[in-house]
Amino acid sequence: ADMPAPLDNPGDVKVALVRYLSTGDFFQAYLSGVEKQAAAIGVDLRVFDSRQDAALQADMVDQAIALGVDGIIIQHGLTESMQAAAQRAVEAGIKVVAFDVNVENDAIPQIEQSDRDLARLALEQAVEDNGTEFTAGYVYVPGIAPLDRRDETWVKVKAANPGIKQVAEFGTLDNPIANSVANQARSVLSANPSITVMFAPYDEFAKGVKIAVDEAGMTSQVSIYSADVSTADIAAMREAGSAWKATAATNPAVVGEVSVRALAMLLAGEDPGHNVIVPPTLITQAMLNDLDIKNMEDLGKKAPAFAHADVAVPDWMPLPAR
């Protein structure tokens, strides 16, 4: 009621979420964050799912334009295919924010979960636990933007620490990912029994590596460091003697909320800043055990940095109930 125009009449404000990726827990949690924040403000949210079809995603932006929405959140995608579509939206007078895809547009705030920071936090923990000299295995599939950004950090860390010896690099996105990565990781472990650290900067990868490490009976020898988190990951990290030592993550639901808030600010004529960064949190096995965290809700309650991000929160902004 006391929100600035046009949000004083939020039921008439139409907002579109145009997604590139949708399958999986991260994306589902992101969506739920978007939905919650949109409901808290009261805007009319429409979801367009392009199912990893970048061309279709660009169409969907056009479609949202044609529908006459007031704001658009672009969630993931390819710079090349989204840039022009985003520009068209801006030209049509629509407010746009983009999450995790650089649309190279000054009028469009970029919401980021900072993949480089994610990787950095996890690797710092790895160095703290294992010193600067260890034999490492690395899980990576090139060509996936967030993984490529995480890879940049890994390359830097290796360069800075010549004692880190990477003996194997593997990875696959064959579905179910955890199962396929487990198969690969086991081959890698039997070929390289000296590995003590596995860097798997995506939780599906980490899950697969953990299965392989357990199956190979190397649980006590190998430590796994990853990025992203989910309820199931928490359970896996907390198993007795689990090899999965730490993960760095932002709460996807929080990122979703921040995306909507940044858009709402734009709609109200305020400036959320060009780079809206949701800081990641390091989650270690010890921390989970000490605080007895069982699921994402516990994590949010007991690690407040994970549950909220005080990003894009003007006074008038209604927040979802917690």
Binding site: S22, T23, R46, V47, F48, D49, R51, Q52, D53, A54, A55, L56, A58, D59, M60, D62, Q63, A66, L67, L78, T79, E80, S81, Q83, A84, V141, P142, G143, I144, D148, L173
Partner: protein, 338 residues
């Protein structure tokens, strides 16, 4: 007695089209904006690439074959065109020509494996699929290709996707409304008409159908069975590479992750085509309608805010019901095998 049989004939022939019309009405009433010309163009554009691939699959289905490699050919063309322009810094025309040649060459190899080495079609094209999926990633070590990317030799790639190339996927022609009709839709329509004309109105198409039904008989009637079969796979490979070129033009990047669903979606479109107008056999018109049908369904559901998983569910459900309707009523299984 006679009336029911007329009714059934009618249902077989027009049931699928009626279902599509019903869908349009339902969506038109429930989803605001569904009936706009923009929406129609969106639907067409969203199915343009799968539609073109599906027309290629249709050509192989007609000669009694099957091409599992089309998805991989399309993504290979996507990567190749990007590589040609960005890394080799060649022109758009060169990229298009090389992609088309690549598609035709893959089709030729598929065809030779099938007719000369006598490998069953599913098997040969499955092997080709794996081969291409790996091959297309080797030059860039699995990375996507975009201007400014680091090359394995340490330099950066300086080439760009030329505007002319990008237009293929992005330019829109004025039609009633300015900037309405994307070029890719024009390609889809032109290719659909060409394939239809080829299959239905030329003697080559006729002979290909004959080969699909009884290759031995066609051969004894003087048809060069091997040549037509190879031609079918070459058509399929070439059309798949056209799809890949359009995809590249729309993405503006050689993205390794794109194109995952192309194979299944285009096979679905080609197979749905069996049910259109009670054809019970592969046909270009049916394939185009099949692609359109899936496009309409997904567009309508998206506009009604259905989550992605319910879209799959409904797609499957409608597909099954439409098929039961057509095939159960027609009382004959068509060619049985896809």
């Amino acid at each position: 007695m006679k009336d029911t049989s007329h009714l059934i004939d009618f249902a077989i022939k027009y049931g699928f089209l009626l279902l599509m019309a019903a869908l349009i009405v339902v969506f038109g009433l429930n989803a605001e904006g569904f009936l706009s010309p923009f929406s129609a163009v969106f639907i067409l554009q969203s199915v343009a690439i799968t539609g073109i691939l599906a027309l290629g699959v249709t050509a192989t289905l007609v000669v009694g074959g099957f091409d599992l490699s089309i998805g991989a050919v399309a993504t290979s063309a996507l990567m190749l065109s990007a590589y040609v322009m960005v890394v080799w810094e060649m022109s758009a025309g060169m990229a298009v020509v090389l992609c088309l040649l690549m598609g035709a060459a893959v089709g030729l190899v598929n065809g030779l494996l099938i007719v000369k080495a006598r490998i069953p079609d599913l098997l040969a094209t499955l092997g080709m699929m794996f081969l291409l999926v790996g091959l297309q990633r080797i030059p860039t070590e699995g990375r996507s290709i975009s201007t400014g990317m680091a090359l394995p030799d340490g330099s950066t790639a300086a080439g760009i996707f030329s505007p002319g190339f990008l237009m293929l996927g992005r330019h829109r022609l004025d039609l009633i409304v300015p900037d309405l009709l994307p070029l890719s839709v024009v390609f889809l329509v032109v290719i659909a008409v060409l394939v239809w004309v080829f299959l239905e109105l030329t003697r080559h198409g006729r002979l290909m159908y004959a080969i699909g039904s009884n290759a031995q008989a066609a051969s004894l009637a003087g048809a060069n069975v091997n040549r037509y079969k190879i031609a079918a796979y070459m058509i399929s490979g070439t059309l798949a590479s056209v799809g890949g070129i359009l995809l590249a033009a729309r993405l503006g990047r050689g993205d390794v992750a794109s194109g995952n669903n192309l194979l299944l979606d285009s096979v679905a479109a080609a197979l749905i085509g069996f049910a259109v107008l009670g054809a019970s056999k592969p046909n270009a018109f049916g394939t185009a309608i099949g692609a359109l049908f899936v496009g309409i369904l997904l567009q309508g559901l998206t506009m009604m805010n259905a989550p992605y998983y319910t879209q799959d569910f409904i797609k499957g459900g409608v597909l099954v019901i439409a098929l039961v309707f057509t095939f159960a009523l027609s009382g004959r299984g068509g060619r049985g095998r896809g």
